[in-house]
């Protein structure tokens, strides 16, 4: 029981680390992408939007399977990472983080994009007449106005990564401290018929998810979560 519990705690700690890393990186990379998507008239907008939204409708096992092939020694990504001396990504924390970023991307990009779109052109034009440069307009006008969207994005991205299962199962290899997260640990408990241990983790995840959603709804008292610029799945 004690050994089990410490393995569970290790999985919890790893999950929090993974979700933090993924959320931070997605905020850094996703915000410019959201900005571009909100303002561009490029013909690439639709294909790129579709690509970002893909994980919403794709079964995680599809993503996991393709990543396993792509990141493997015969895959394009795998050959590139080997050539760069990084080695292969499956079964590593780095590989898991990259896969999770792809998987959670729509949950971060879409709320920020919607928030940027909701600002409209006026505040930015007003700032421009006050001689604010592009960077100042972005950093001092757009970003503060979009802060709720950014906060929603961070919370949803984090929560979604915590709940990730299919992709981890496909490329993780269930290594303690590297790729064994809460969801795969919970799954192992269920499969091994260790129901008390499974209940403990499942209840923890349930309480966490509910708390996160409660917080998100408090952030946006009006309107539904799914209608208000957050992803539709």
């Amino acid at each position: 029981m004690d050994a089990d519990w410490s393995a569970d705690l290790q999985a919890v700690a790893l999950t929090l680390k993974l979700a933090s890393v993924v959320t931070l990186l997605l905020l850094v990379l996703g915000t410019p992408l959201a900005w571009w998507l909100a303002h561009t008239r490029s013909r690439w907008k639709a294909p790129l939007s579709a690509l970002v939204a893909l994980p919403l409708v794709l079964p995680p096992t599809v993503l996991g399977f393709y990543l396993l092939m792509l990141m493997g020694p015969h895959g394009l990504v795998g050959q590139a990472t080997q050539a760069l001396g990084i080695g292969l990504l499956p079964f590593t924390f780095t590989g898991l983080a990259i896969a999770s970023m792809l998987y959670s991307m729509p949950f971060v990009v879409q709320p920020i994009q919607t928030a940027f779109e909701a600002i409209g052109a006026r505040p930015l034009e007003a700032a421009a007449t006050l001689r604010a440069g592009p960077w100042e307009r972005f950093a001092h006008v757009a970003l503060p106005l979009a802060r709720r969207g950014v906060l929603t994005a961070a919370v949803l991205g984090f929560a979604h990564t915590v709940g990730e299962f299919g992709v981890v199962l496909m490329i993780g290899g269930n290594i303690p401290g590297a790729t064994r997260v809460i969801s795969t640990q919970l799954y192992s408990h269920v499969e091994a018929l260790e129901y008390p241990a499974a209940h403990r983790l499942a209840a923890l995840l349930l309480a966490f998810s509910f708390a996160v959603l409660l917080w998100v709804y408090r952030l946006r008292p009006r309107g539904a979560l799914l209608a208000a610029g957050t992803p539709t799945a």
């Binding site: 396993l68 015969h74 499956p90 079964f91 290899g173 499969e191 091994a192």
Partner: protein
């Protein structure tokens, strides 16, 4: 026209009814390692008896949990003896039908045709980064792999390079995609039943390195077709079925 249509529908329905009176449909839960052999045996059984067999493939532990919760399986072909025995003990399976249908063999396998030598010495080398092993808690082949590593006194030496597959099929998949150079899997998974040359390279682990992997079959008590289900379980011991079982690298 609608009258003619409904009349022909009734005729069709009566025909289906008459047919189903003779042919039962069986839902058979099969452990992942035995899936290819089970598909073949099921096809022969269908041909010989007229019954219809639907095969579901998965981990034995998962099937146990599903049967506990009333999953509509008629037969379980487990990867171990403990699970069917447990079901019998709980009154969820028919004791008279319980028997060992196959004894599995463990192999160390690599997709690389040159990596694995005839004695498994490669395990002691640094020519590989990942060894794929099924979860010992869930899969008998994972347990056998652990016993083999212990017998070779390599448990600690390889521990950091072990990746765990959720079931034996995923364990092989890690090695087939080349992400793990080595994998402990069932011989039945990597031996083509037509006797052609085995792709990749492998080491047949000697029997004395691990406890025999006896796989038991049993009829689930809640079955609606006990006669056909028992027929199927008995069929596993027929010469025809055993030819298939042997071809896939199992004994009994």
């Amino acid at each position: 026209m609608s009258f003619a249509l409904s009349r022909s529908l009734v005729a069709l329905w009566l025909a289906a009814l008459a047919f189903s009176a003779r042919a039962d449909e069986l839902q058979v839960a099969v452990a992942a390692n035995f899936a290819p052999a089970a598909q073949k045996i099921a096809a022969q059984f269908e041909h010989d008896t007229g019954h219809v067999v639907k095969v579901s493939v998965g981990a034995t532990g998962k099937f146990y949990a599903q049967i506990e919760s009333g999953a509509p399986f008629d037969v379980l072909l487990a990867a171990d003896q403990a699970t069917p025995a447990r079901l019998v003990g709980e009154g969820k399976a028919l004791p008279a039908t319980l028997h060992t249908y196959a004894v599995g063999k463990l192999v160390l396998w690599s997709a690389d045709p040159a990596l694995v030598d005839a004695k498994g010495e490669v395990l002691k080398s640094n020519q590989w980064k990942h060894l794929s092993v099924a979860d010992a808690k869930l899969a008998p082949y994972g347990q056998a792999a652990r016993e083999t590593l212990a017998a070779l006194k390599l448990t600690d030496a390889v521990q950091a390079r072990v990746v765990t597959g959720e079931n034996i099929a995923q364990t092989l998949q890690f090695a087939q995609t080349g992400n793990a150079e080595l994998a402990f899997v069932a011989l039945g998974q990597v031996q083509p039943p037509d006797g052609s040359r085995v792709p990749g390279s492998m080491w047949l682990v000697p029997d004395n390195f691990y406890a025999p992997i006896r796989q038991d079959a049993v009829v689930i008590a809640a079955t609606k077709s006990p006669k056909a289900a028992t027929e199927f379980v008995d069929y596993l011991a027929s010469d025809k079925a055993r030819a298939v079982i042997k071809a896939y690298g199992y004994s009994w």
